[in-house]
Amino acid sequence: MAQTLSTLAYLVASVLFIMALRGLSNPETSRQGNLFGMVGMGIAVVATLLKPGMGAGGIAIVLLGLAIGGTIGTVLAQRIQMTSLPQLVAAFHSLVGMAAVFVAAAAFYAPESFGIGVPGNIKGASLVEMSLGLAIGAITFSGSVIAFAKLDGRMSGAPIIFKGQHMLNAALGALLLVLVIAFVATGSPVLFWLIALLSFALGFLLIIPIGGADMPVVVSMLNSYSGWAAAGIGFTIGNLLLIVTGALVGASGAILSYIMCKGMNRSIINVLLGGFGSDSGAAAGPGAGNADRAPVKAGSPEDAAYIMKNAQKIIIVPGYGMAVAQAQQVVREMADLLKKEGAEISYAIHPVAGRMPGHMNVLLAEANVPYDEVHELEEINAEFAEADVAYVIGANDVTNPAAKTDKTSAIYGMPILDVERAKTVFFVKRGMSSGYAGVENELFFRPNTMMLFGDAKKVTQQIVQSLQK
């Protein structure tokens, strides 16, 4: 295929990718959008394979790689549980990062393939772009590996902090810059691999201080990095499609990181510096509150079933705890029964309810909850005042009114769901432990709150049984 034709094909693929993202503005058009994305990728791959100068041997190797990788990817995508989606996405990000590193290496050892010079004498500008793609790719790789390990429970979600951490990172960052300058000046292979090694170390060090609760931001940020890495490689090899796609992905990840930060009222700097939150809050037994507080009112699932049976408007507030207890399905069964009793059911989702942006929506959709019953915080917050019941399951910090009133609280300023305005609030919880932020929820002590102590799935199952009687 002539140069002009392949450039044209890349242009078509770029437009299809933009349309793939555009389709996601509505669940109805989203499936078509995903199809556009696949077609775009197909066009890009075929156009590249048909370029002049492609040897049969090379094409065979490429097809082999596509077949191996494609099989692994398809199997992973089919088998993964939706609760483990964040881990999978983090793992995928690491692969993009690693692929960027290898493409940079290939461009370094065979620059003539990309028209950027000959081995040992590559254009200075291309070396700058190459080292950028290489460094961002390597940081994306090792950062994503840590994010994967933390999300998958293979390493503790607790922040790993040591003295002089930020100084060390800053020093390594400066060293990286020096190495890049030296690499551009000399084009030395040793420096190329040193940049790769240092970037791997930097990606690792940048993510370890960030706690498990901040992983939604980290996953979005690494999503952004993987885009910038692709763009960097695009500049290196002068490819329009890589540049456009990299920019789209980079912008997307950056916006998601911003939305996640806003959902927690944290600045991105604050998240990146890390050290916030730990894996487990101090757990206390049921009923063990502050002595000077009003006593906690605990109820039975039967009480809850009775009150909800007579309720008109019920808002369910799911948090990640619900997903951990695998209670989505039974929550939907409860909602179905209550709908038969004449209640209006809706779901309220906080931006950071899951472990990645939009995670809770996917988990509810998987449990066959219709997406038009699921609402975002801004859409539904005013409706709590009219609700008879707010059923909070597996969520905690995102309902804590201290975020609005207590300036000393760690979560002050975070947007919260106004569940306290509902006539009755049910809290399904194992005990009185505080949430990720380690802040006690004063809602537990309100007169209109009833605690339902126990496992989220079991409690909801008992409610379902009472409703069926």
């Binding site: 100068g53 995508a77 939706m82 290898f102 912008a251 990645m356 929506n361 066959n368 975002e376």
Partner: protein, 131 residues
């Protein structure tokens, strides 16, 4: 001032002028490839910045309910880096480049197929009331 002196000075001035002209020519020669190299780069940079803006506006339009599928799709399309990997594998005679290219193609393929497939699975679950 005698004519001889004038002649000598004139000769030295003309020598200096010739030297300056030579310098100017060398500078122009040195600048030409820089200008030629800067132009495609500027073009790519323009495309890059425009694409950032397009991405910004398109992504703000994505409904928050579909942010996870958005990550799935962006994950898949960022693996368009496979284009670079294919070029390295197919166009180069260097064994190192072929090996690096092959690894990159395989890694990117995991992502392309995995990303699009997992997004498809997610999107298939989103159903309307009564649907």
């Amino acid at each position: 001032m005698n004519p001889q002196q004038i002649a000598i000075e004139a000769a030295s001035i003309s020598d200096r002028a010739a030297l300056l002209a030579e310098h100017a020519r060398q500078l122009a020669e040195a600048a030409a490839p820089v200008a030629a190299a800067a132009e495609p780069f500027l073009l790519l940079l323009t495309i890059f910045l425009m694409a950032c803006f397009v991405g910004y506006y398109v992504v703000w339009n994505v409904t928050p309910a579909l942010h996870s599928p958005l990550m799935g799709v962006t994950n898949a399309i960022s693996s368009v880096i496979v284009v670079g990997a294919i070029l390295a594998t197919g166009l180069s005679d260097s064994i190192a480049a072929k090996i690096f290219g092959f690894i990159a193609v395989t890694l990117a393929a995991v992502n392309i197929f995995g990303g699009f497939m997992v997004t498809r699975r997610m999107l298939a679950m989103f159903k309307k009331k009564g649907g």
